[in-house]
C-alpha cells in the first residue's frame, strides 16, 4: 500500500496541471464544435495545422451526430457536425445551414480462413440478405455463385454490427435499403436500427475487434479502420454492375458522380452512386451552423477555418484515408455561406474580411 498515496498525489497533480492548461487555452481565441465521431480524426488534424498557422484553436467534442445536432440547436457551440444530413424542412424550422465537409467510405470486412483482403465478392443484395439472417452459411449458393474460384467453408456466418448509434451504420443501412427492398421494408435506414441478426460491437474498434477475433464473421467499418487493423475487406458490385475494391480512387469516383447542385440544403446521401468505378457505400459528413449569427465576427472566424480546410486540408485528409470534397463543391458551399449565413441585422458574413 506504500506507493498508493504517492500515485494518488501524482494523479491529483496531473489533473490540476491539466485543468490549468485547459484554463490557459480557453484564454486564447477558440472555436467550438461538437458532433460526429467519424470525421473527428481529420478535424483534429486540420485544427492542429490551423492553430500552428493562425493561433486560433478548435475545441471539437466528438460526442456523436445526435449530440452535435442537439448542441448546435441549443447554441452551445459554434458549429455542429453530423454524418446524417438533416432534411431541408428540418433545416428551415431550426434555422440551420448545412454543408458537406469531408467524405469517407464504409467497407464490409470478413474473417474467413483462407480469404484475403479484396478476394471475396459480394453484391448488395447478398450482403443485405446476410444481415437479414437469410443467407446463413458461407457456402450458401448465393455467395458461391459470385465467387466460383473461392473455396468457402460450410460454417455459419457470424454477423457483426455496430451497437451504438453511428453515422457508419447510417451509410451502411442506406446502401442496404437502396439495393434490397426487403431491407428497406423490414429494417429501414437510421444511425441505429433493429438488427435482425448478429452481435453488436461498440464503435468501429468494437466491430473491428469482433471481426478479427471471431472466425467466419462479417462486419462493416470505416475504411481507415479496415486498413489499420489489416482486416480483409470485400469487393462489392456497384450500381453499374461492376465489382470494385474500396480505395480513395473508388470513393472519389462515387463523390464525383454525386449531384450536389440539385440537392437542397446539400441533403444528399451518397449510397449506391452511379459510375463504373464508384464504391457504393460512400458518404459525406456535414457541418451545421445557424443562419442568423448574433456574433458575426466569431462566425466569420469559423467560416475562415472551414474555407482554409477546403483549400488546404486535402492532403491531410487523404493521409488519414478520407476523401476531400471536390473544389467545385467547396465553391458551391461558399456561395451558400454568402447567401444564407447573416448577422442579426441581415448582413452577409462571408466573404470575411
Amino acid at each position: 500500500m506504500r506507493f498508493a498515496p504517492s500515485s494518488v498525489r501524482g494523479a491529483a497533480i496531473a489533473a490540476a496541471v491539466g485543468a490549468f492548461c485547459l484554463a490557459g487555452s480557453a484564454q486564447a481565441a477558440e472555436m467550438t464544435g461538437a458532433g460526429a465521431t467519424f470525421p473527428y480524426p481529420v478535424y483534429a488534424k486540420w485544427a492542429e495545422a490551423y492553430k500552428a498557422k493562425t493561433g486560433i484553436s478548435l475545441n471539437y467534442q466528438s460526442i456523436g451526430s445526435g449530440g452535435g445536432i442537439k448542441q448546435i440547436k441549443a447554441k452551445t457551440v459554434d458549429f455542429g457536425a453530423s454524418d446524417m444530413p438533416l432534411k431541408p424542412d428540418d433545416l428551415k424550422t431550426s434555422g440551420l445551414v448545412q454543408w458537406p465537409m469531408i467524405m469517407g467510405g464504409v467497407v464490409p470486412v470478413v474473417n474467413v480462413p483462407g480469404v484475403k483482403a479484396g478476394e471475396l465478392k459480394l453484391s448488395g443484395k447478398v450482403l443485405a440478405d446476410i444481415y437479414l439472417g437469410k443467407v446463413k452459411t458461407w457456402n450458401a449458393p448465393e455467395i458461391a455463385k459470385l465467387n466460383p474460384s473461392l473455396k468457402l467453408p460450410k460454417k455459419p456466418i457470424a454477423v457483426v454490427h455496430r451497437s451504438d448509434g453511428s453515422g457508419t451504420t447510417f451509410l451502411f443501412t442506406s446502401y442496404l435499403a437502396a439495393v434490397n427492398p426487403e431491407w428497406k421494408d423490414k429494417v429501414g435506414v437510421s444511425t441505429a436500427v433493429e438488427w435482425p441478426a448478429g452481435i453488436g460491437g461498440k464503435g468501429n474498434e468494437g466491430v473491428a475487434n469482433f471481426a478479427r477475433q471471431t472466425p467466419d464473421s462479417i462486419g462493416y467499418v470505416e475504411y481507415a479502420y479496415a486498413l489499420q487493423n489489416k482486416l480483409a475487406y470485400t469487393q462489392l458490385s456497384n450500381k453499374d454492375g461492376a465489382f470494385v475494391k474500396p480505395s480513395s480512387a473508388t470513393f472519389q469516383s462515387a463523390a464525383a458522380n454525386a449531384d450536389w447542385a440539385q440537392a437542397p440544403g446539400f441533403s444528399l446521401v451518397l449510397a449506391n452512386q452511379p459510375g463504373k468505378t464508384s464504391w457504393p457505400i460512400t458518404g459525406a459528413s456535414f457541418i451545421l451552423m445557424h443562419a442568423s449569427q448574433a456574433a458575426p465576427a466569431r462566425a466569420a472566424e469559423v467560416l475562415k477555418f472551414f474555407s482554409w480546410a477546403y483549400a488546404n486540408g486535402g492532403k491531410m485528409a487523404e493521409a488519414l484515408d478520407y476523401v476531400p470534397m471536390p473544389a467545385n463543391v467547396a465553391t458551391m458551399v461558399a456561395g451558400v455561406w454568402t447567401e444564407q449565413i447573416k448577422s442579426a441585422d441581415g448582413k452577409a458574413i462571408w466573404p470575411a474580411k
Binding site: D164, G165, A192, I199, Q213, T214
Partner: protein, 322 residues
C-alpha cells in the same frame, strides 16, 4: 425513528452548548439533506424525461421486446432481462468466491502473507471497469470461444431443457461472458467487506470454539458464518448494486443485441449497456425518452433490491435478538 441523542454531559454541565457543536451538527445535517436531495432530483429528472415514452407505450413498455429506432417503437424486456440475468450469474460466481477467499484470508492464511493478499484484493477493486472489459473482450472471450463453449455446446447442448442454455454458435461473447466478468468485478468488493466482517467478530467466540475442539471448517460454518451473515448480506448487496449498474465492461462483452435468448451464449444487452451504446447518437424525442425510461427502471430495480436487502437484514437482526 431514533430521536437525536442529548448533548454529552461535558457540554451540558454548565448549561450551554459550544458553538462548534451546533455548527458540526448543522453541517452533518446539511450533508445528509444534500445527498437525499440529489437522490430525489435524479428520480424526478428521470421520471419527467421518461414520461413521454411511458405515456406512448404504456405498460407495454415493460412487456415488449421490440427495440426499433427507425419506426420509434421501444420495449424494455430485453435490457431488463439481460440486467437481471447477468447480475444473477455475477452473484452465483462472485459471492462463493468472495466469501471463500475472505475465510481463507482471515482464518487460514499465514499471518505474514495476509496483509499483502488483502492489499491485493483491495487493489483489484480499484482496477477501472474498462480494463475488465478489454481483458474480457481480448483475452477471456476468445478463450471461452475456443476452449470452453464448443465443449459445453457439444456435451450439454443436446440435453433436454437444460440444453437450451448452451446452444448456438460459440461467439465467445454473450450473456454468460458478461455475467462471469461481472462476477470477477464484484468479487473484490464483496471479499474486502467480508474480511472486515470476519475480523470484526469477537475473537473470544472464535477462541472458545477452537478451545472446545472445533475444526476450522466447524468454526467457519457454525461461528463465523452465522455471526457474520448480516454483514455478508450487506457485502453481497454492495456487489449486486455494482453488478446491476456496471456499464463499460458489460458493453464490451455482452454482444449488445436487443433480444431475449434462452441460450447463455447468445448476445444480449443490459440497461446500462443500452444507455452507454445509444445515448450519444439517439435522435428523436421518443428514442431519448425511452432510453431515460430504461434508466428509471434501473433506478427502481436498484431501489427494490436495496429495500429487500434492508428487510432481510431486519429479519436477521430480529432472529439474532431472539
Amino acid at each position: 425513528m431514533r430521536t437525536e441523542p442529548p448533548l454529552p454531559e461535558a457540554c451540558a454541565d454548565n448549561g450551554r452548548t459550544p458553538a462548534s457543536e451546533h455548527a458540526f451538527r448543522l453541517l452533518c445535517r446539511a450533508a445528509a439533506v444534500t445527498v437525499a436531495g440529489f437522490l430525489l432530483a435524479v428520480f424526478v429528472v428521470l421520471a419527467v424525461n421518461a414520461a413521454p415514452a411511458l405515456a406512448a407505450f404504456g405498460p407495454g413498455f415493460l412487456t415488449t421486446q421490440v427495440w426499433n429506432p427507425v419506426t420509434e417503437r421501444f420495449g424494455a424486456v430485453a435490457p431488463i432481462f439481460g440486467t437481471l440475468i447477468t447480475s444473477l450469474i455475477a452473484m452465483l460466481v462472485g459471492v462463493p468466491l468472495a466469501v471463500g477467499s475472505a475465510l481463507f484470508l482471515t482464518e487460514i492464511c499465514p499471518h505474514r502473507l495476509r496483509t499483502s493478499l488483502i492489499v491485493g484484493v483491495e487493489l483489484l477493486a480499484a482496477v477501472p471497469s474498462i480494463i475488465y472489459g478489454m481483458w474480457g473482450l481480448l483475452v477471456f472471450a476468445p478463450f471461452l470461444a475456443n476452449h470452453v463453449q464448443p465443449f459445453l455446446i457439444d456435451r450439454l447442448g443436446p440435453l433436454p431443457l437444460l440444453g437450451a442454455l448452451f446452444q448456438g454458435p460459440p461467439f465467445g461473447i454473450g450473456t454468460l461472458t458478461a455475467g462471469l466478468i461481472l462476477g470477477l468485478m464484484v468479487l473484490p468488493f464483496i471479499a474486502s467487506v467480508a474480511c472486515q466482517v470476519f475480523f470484526a467478530i469477537d475473537p473470544f467466540l472464535r477462541e472458545a470454539a477452537y478451545g472446545v475442539g472445533a475444526t476450522t471448517w466447524e468454526v467457519c460454518r457454525n461461528v463465523l458464518m452465522p455471526q457474520g451473515r448480516a454483514g455478508l448480506l450487506g457485502a453481497s448487496m454492495l456487489g449486486l448494486g455494482r453488478a446491476l449498474g456496471e456499464t463499460m465492461a458489460v458493453t464490451f462483452v455482452i454482444g449488445n443485441a436487443h433480444r431475449v435468448s434462452a441460450s447463455l451464449f447468445a448476445p444480449g444487452t443490459t440497461i446500462s449497456a443500452s444507455l452507454a451504446n445509444e445515448f450519444t447518437e439517439a435522435v428523436g424525442d421518443l428514442y431519448l425518452s425511452s432510453l431515460q425510461a430504461l434508466g428509471l427502471i434501473l433506478f427502481v430495480i436498484t431501489f427494490v433490491v436495496l429495500a429487500l436487502a434492508r428487510l432481510m437484514l431486519r429479519h436477521i437482526e430480529k432472529g439474532d435478538a431472539r
